[in-house]
């Protein structure tokens, strides 16, 4: 019974997603909301403003530098967490 309910909810969810996806703007539409907000400024002024011809680098490291700082801290936190966990495990085993 529970399993059947699970399948049913899965099908309903898939139907909902497919229905919603019909409203998405077509790929590459220049008038879609994401393409009309900040993208034109990045495309037109990224090299002039940041000196980076690679637009991805300009957005990643300059316009969205704070975001990348967060990503670096996430990677750093992963390393420190692994260090604390496994280092502690080794010390615990030795006792």
């Amino acid at each position: 019974m529970t399993r059947k309910l699970g399948y049913l909810s899965l099908v309903l969810l898939a139907a909902l997603f497919i229905y919603v996806s019909l409203d998405l703007p077509p790929t590459g539409d220049p008038h879609s909301p994401p393409a009309t907000h900040v993208s034109p400024r990045y495309i037109e002024k990224a090299y002039k403003e940041t000196g980076a011809a690679n637009m991805v680098t300009a957005v990643l490291a300059d316009y969205r530098g704070y975001d990348t700082l967060g990503e670096t801290v996430v990677v750093f936190t992963a390393g420190v967490a692994t260090l604390l966990l496994l280092e502690g495990a080794f010390k615990f085993k030795k006792r």
Binding site: T50, A52, A61, Y66, E71, T72, F76, G79, T82
Partner: protein, 141 residues
């Protein structure tokens, strides 16, 4: 881990290939302004070169990067990124607004230099973290 010496073929191949890894990592780092690449990718390539040495040589290679040095690199890289952000604030701009740094006349060039600075920080952080994780998962000998 077996304590035996690496075979001559493996050792020689690693010694030959490591310089190319290092040069390629630096290329990916400094050419990130003009081509795909940047700090994260360069850090991974650097970490791979260190891990390769540790895999082929003894568990404690005479050259390469140990665990403690890797931790220092990870901390320094993250601190360098945040430090550049604080520097820009000290010069009166917003955080990570590189244009205010006194490095040159043209603002775009100064911003490119600031971007390069934080990419170096990201490279050091990613390399240190990857080497630390590999070291830990390899276990104590």
């Amino acid at each position: 881990m077996n304590k035996s010496r690496p075979t001559t073929i493996l050792d020689t191949c690693v010694r030959l290939i490591i310089p190319f890894y290092l040069v390629y990592a630096i290329y990916v780092l400094v050419h990130g302004h003009y081509s795909p690449g940047g700090g994260f990718q360069a850090g991974v390539v650097l970490a791979v070169s260190v891990i390769l040495v540790q895999l082929v040589q003894d568990p404690n290679p005479r050259w390469g990067l140990g665990r403690d040095a890797a931790v220092v690199f990870a901390c320094l890289g993250t601190f360098m990124y945040a430090g550049i952000g604080l520097l820009t604030m000290a010069w009166g701009g917003n955080m990570l607004d590189y244009g205010v740094l006194p490095l040159g006349e043209v603002e775009a060039e100064v911003r490119a230099l600031g971007t390069l600075g934080i990419e170096i920080g990201v490279t050091m952080a990613v390399m240190g973290v990857f080497v630390v994780i590999f070291n830990l998962l390899r276990g104590e000998e």
